[in-house]
């Protein structure tokens, strides 16, 4: 039953996540909220690991969520759930390849879907940023205690500048993740 739910949730994510890479993020965030399979902080850790290991990010995240929830069978089931819809869709499209490419309604639909996909990722990101920058309670916690923990904010500002400097910005994400890990250990970030 557990595995069936897992499969179905990832099937839906695979069917509606448009635009690759981080497009699965909003769906994962909803899963965390709805089923409590993982916390927002854990989700961000999963993104970090998925970006730092080989393989498509969406697939890596599915495997990670599945493993966290139900061990190795979960990892396999979640991944299969995510890829099932695209395999079916591509096998169908492959037979009508040219027609699909030149269909104006497909084109029009994607014109509308792309900004929506960007919006969904943006909204998911804002929720995650609240947790990562202001602590487990998110922005509410921050407002109620009125004590600003400066460490995450300083790192955020520094990285925002570094990742937009020419020459540095094209470095692989794993470099920034590794540097952040060292900073976190040196300056006791979990306190």
């Amino acid at each position: 039953m557990m595995l069936l739910t897992l499969y179905w949730e990832f099937f839906k994510a695979g069917l509606f996540a448009v635009g690759g890479g981080l497009a699965t993020l909003p769906f994962l965030r909803v899963m965390g909220q709805q089923y409590g399979w993982f916390t927002p902080a854990q989700l961000v850790d999963m993104v970090a690991v998925s970006e730092s290991t080989p393989g498509p990010i969406g697939v890596n995240m599915a495997t990670y969520v599945g493993y966290t929830y139900a061990g190795i069978p979960g990892a396999i089931i979640a991944t299969l759930g995510l890829i099932t819809p695209s395999v079916i869709i591509i096998l169908i499209i492959a037979t009508v390849l040219q027609k699909f490419r030149s269909n104006k309604y497909v084109d029009m639909g994607f014109y509308g879907m792309r900004p929506a996909s960007t919006a969904l990722i943006t909204a998911a990101l804002l929720g995650l940023m609240a947790v990562c920058l202001f602590g487990a309670g998110g922005i509410k916690d921050f407002a109620s205690t009125a004590v600003i923990a400066p460490k995450p904010l300083i790192l955020f500002a520094a990285l925002m500048i570094l990742t937009n400097v020419k020459k540095i910005k094209n470095l692989h994400p794993i470099v920034f993740i590794a540097v952040s890990a060292v900073v976190g250990i040196l300056f006791n970030y979990s306190e």
């Binding site: 695979g14 290991t53 697939v59 493993y67 991944t79 695209s86 929506a116 250990i185």
Partner: protein, 179 residues
């Protein structure tokens, strides 16, 4: 035997692929066009274009396409399983490892900072995506409505994906928006 070849070649691609998106294009060209000669350069670009306008992970879509071309439906399935196989193995090992060490202070410290870094990385990707996908007034409106709707109301992302596709068709049919 070609099925085994398909599985192994795509497993190799999955294991060598970092990040995905456009970054994997050179890897696909080298393995599939130059080494194996399974598809042409043009076909790869076609698959890629379609991968971007179909749901799902682009690397997975490309694997399904190439596998199907070589060995039919079964080939499509085998190639797809190949491309995800390394992820499942590598991530499972890392997840098991991390869950055992999650309570160590050094791991907690590292991840508290890594989380901030991940937010920055996602924010940069979102800005890049925004520049590509928000191209005129109608797309800007769709963006704002979907962000606000997600944050303020508890609506499933699925609703927005379906509704925005319909909006796109309506807007383009009326001839509004950038040509």
């Amino acid at each position: 035997m070609e099925l085994l070849q398909l599985f192994l070649t795509f497993a190799k691609i999955g294991a060598m692929m970092f990040g995905g998106g456009l970054a994997m294009l050179p890897l696909l060209q080298r393995e599939l066009v130059d080494n194996k000669k399974w598809v042409t350069e043009e076909e790869i670009l076609d698959y890629y274009a379609i991968g971007q306008c179909t749901p799902g992970v682009i690397a997975v879509n490309t694997a399904t396409f190439v596998g199907r071309k070589r060995k039919g439906v079964l080939g499509g399935i085998v190639a797809t399983l190949g491309v995800v196989f390394p992820s499942v193995v590598i991530i499972t090992i890392i997840a098991a490892f991390l869950s055992n060490f999650a309570e160590l202070k050094v791991v907690k410290d590292a991840f508290a900072a890594i989380r901030v870094c991940v937010c920055v990385l996602i924010l940069n990707s979102v800005i890049k995506l925004g520049k590509k996908t928000i191209v005129d007034a109608p797309t800007a409106i769709i963006f704002v409505v979907a962000v606000a709707g997600t944050l303020l109301l508890n609506i499933s992302p699925i609703i927005f994906v379906v509704a925005s596709a319909l909006c796109g068709i309506v807007v383009k049919s009326l001839g509004v928006g950038k040509k």
